[in-house]
């Protein structure tokens, strides 16, 4: 436990020094504030609070931005240290390799949490003070923040897996960008294409639902865009959400699985690596 705290603390300090933390906080705060103050204006006839509108628009943008930030934080966590020569020395200390992976992960994940709390939390408070929030919309907003953390953590874990599988930092960067494109952009386009060509309706709703759950960004979308009635109406996902019948607990568990499985695979791979 002591080693985990030391390693996580080291990552956080490094993040603060490199101004990573500041950059992410600023980016998330700017995004959330601009959507809260400017994007929530058209609330009139649908009787939604500005906060509900912010949740819908913020979730739609977070799903692109946060995986990218997380991958940028994580892709060189292991291979970068290996290339710079700092990993060799670290592994000669009384610290197990799983502790190196998990400790670094905790550090990076906490950096993301802090950025979300300050950036998104700050925008939430601004909405509260401008009278744009009620209890229900706060629930949706907190769910958005928590699920964003999980989504970001999942992509940090995926970034670690890349970092443990390749031998060069440049390769890791290329694979990370490809992975981002695949999960965030191409996957849904592919799914949409399949549905468009499936004129004979051979794809069962269960299969489509299962395919959605096989992508962490889609799980995130489902959690946030169908989570509450008000938001799902705004997002145009109310019917889809009801029809699919996804249980919130299952969705959260699946997202946690997207954190735990890549992280576990990273540990297994890193454990066997000979330097």
């Amino acid at each position: 436990m002591r080693a985990l705290v030391i390693l996580a603390g080291n990552e956080i300090r490094d993040g603060l020094r490199n101004r990573w933390v500041a950059a992410i906080i600023l980016l998330l705060a700017a995004l959330a504030l601009s959507l809260a103050l400017l994007g929530s204006a058209p609330s009139g006839t649908v009787q939604a609070t500005p906060m509900n509108i912010t949740v819908a628009s913020l979730a739609s943008l977070t799903v692109y931005l946060l995986p990218l930030i997380a991958l940028m934080l994580a892709f060189d966590a292991l291979v970068g240290e290996l290339e710079r020569g700092t990993l060799l020395l670290l592994l000669t200390y009384p610290v197990a390799r799983w502790q190196v992976v998990v400790g670094k992960f905790l550090g990076h994940s906490l950096i993301l949490l802090a950025a979300l709390l300050v950036g998104y939390g700050g925008a939430g408070l601004v909405l509260q003070f401008t009278g744009g929030a009620d209890a229900e919309s706060w629930t949706a907003y907190l769910v958005l923040m928590a699920s964003s953390w999980l989504l970001g953590s999942a992509f940090i874990a995926l970034g670690y897996l890349i970092s443990a599988l390749v031998r060069e930092r440049a390769t890791a960067a290329g694979v990370a960008v490809t992975l981002w494109l695949l999960f965030v952009v191409l996957y849904d386009l592919g799914l949409l294409g399949m549905l468009l060509v499936d004129t004979g309706q051979r794809l069962s709703p269960e299969l489509v639902a299962a395919l959605l759950l096989a992508n962490p960004t889609d799980i995130y979308r489902i959690i946030n865009l169908t989570g509450t009635e008000a938001v799902s109406l705004l997002a145009g996902m109310a019917e889809a959400g009801r029809a699919a019948g996804f249980q919130p607990v299952m969705l959260v568990a699946l997202l946690l699985g997207w954190v735990a499985v890549p992280l576990g695979l990273t540990v297994v791979r890193f454990q066997r690596m000979e330097l």
Binding site: I6, R13, T86, L89, T92, Y93, V95, A96, E274, L275
Partner: protein
């Protein structure tokens, strides 16, 4: 006192794919002993260190460090009783030297209060609060030494430790190693700086293409190698030829001019020849003896003249 090994390798081989990096290497480093590990680049020195650190597994053979098998430690982390300095040591450049050392001290379970003293000891007291990114190569090396000495470990594994250090710091470093030995610790030092390691090591291990071609005290290796002792004799003007004729056998005349002779002989004949030269006074004015040093011994074994 009976020999008690802190480091032991018994017929250790390591292969990466088809390339055999180490072949049946056996050596032992005892308590309070300093062994110099020599060899050309690619001879297998760094791989040997990595095996001792449990960073990679041997294909064959048995390894013990402080009585424990580091092979079992792959992925689990080492004990705190080993200090390691890698070649070209690198640190997180955004942190200060003090923060780096404190980070490693915490990982090793060493009181962070000792860090400032160690930093001062390696000459980094003034620069301790500066970022590592502003450090010169020599300063990084000194920080590397400080981290290797954290917690006064029993076994020191040092890969090219004095690279980038000025002569004064080199001396300080070897004094520190000597102190470490006096406290019962052992050191395995890989180095290309033959002249400086010569007087500081108790035994020498020479690797050639993954094979241990020589291991023992320098005098013993010199003896085995049969390297000649060179003797330079200064005579009176025009007396060199006369001395050469009267000196007798058991030596080889390499060079002669009006008042100097350069001779070579086997190590065992050295005293006898010097005595004979002393008897030839006053024709002989002075005698200089050059015994083969580590450079010659290393050149002999690493060039392929030594046993495989």
């Amino acid at each position: 006192m009976a020999f008690k090994a802190s480091i032991e390798l018994d017929r250790v081989s390591k292969r990466y794919g088809a390339h055999e990096v180490l072949h049946e290497v056996s050596l032992a480093v005892g308590q309070a002993e300093c062994v110099a590990l020599l060899g050309h680049n690619g001879a297998g020195k760094t791989t040997l260190m990595k095996l001792l650190l449990g960073l990679t597994r041997p294909c064959h053979g048995r390894i013990r460090v402080n009585g424990a098998d580091p092979t079992h430690l792959l992925g689990k982390g080492l004990g705190a009783d080993i200090g390691f300095l890698p070649e070209n040591v690198m640190f997180h450049t955004a942190m200060s030297g003090r923060e780096v050392l404190r980070f490693y001290a915490r990982l090793k379970g060493v009181a962070v209060g000792t860090c400032d003293r160690l930093l001062a000891e390696v000459g980094l007291g003034e620069a301790a609060r500066r970022r590592v990114s502003t450090y010169s190569k020599g300063m990084r090396q000194r920080l590397g030494l400080a981290q290797a000495l954290l917690g006064t470990p029993h076994v020191l594994l040092l890969d090219e430790p004095t690279t980038g250090l000025d002569p004064v710091l080199r001396e300080t470093f070897y004094q520190r190693v000597r102190q470490h030995q006096e406290e019962g610790g052992c050191a395995l030092i890989s180095s290309h700086a033959l002249t400086e390691i010569e007087a500081r090591s108790d035994r020498v291990a020479i690797l050639r293409q993954g094979r241990l071609v020589a291991f023992g005290p320098l005098a013993e290796l010199r003896e085995k190698a049969g390297l000649p002792v060179r003797i330079r004799v200064v005579t009176g003007v025009g007396e060199a030829n006369g001395v050469a004729e009267r000196i007798g056998g058991g030596l080889h005349l390499d060079h002669i001019n009006n008042q100097t002779l350069e001779l070579s002989c086997l190590g065992g004949d050295k005293l006898d020849i010097v005595t004979r030269l002393a008897d030839l006074r006053p024709a002989v004015h002075d005698v200089e003896i050059h015994t083969p040093g580590l450079s010659e011994v290393y050149a002999h074994y690493s060039a392929g003249d030594g046993p495989q």
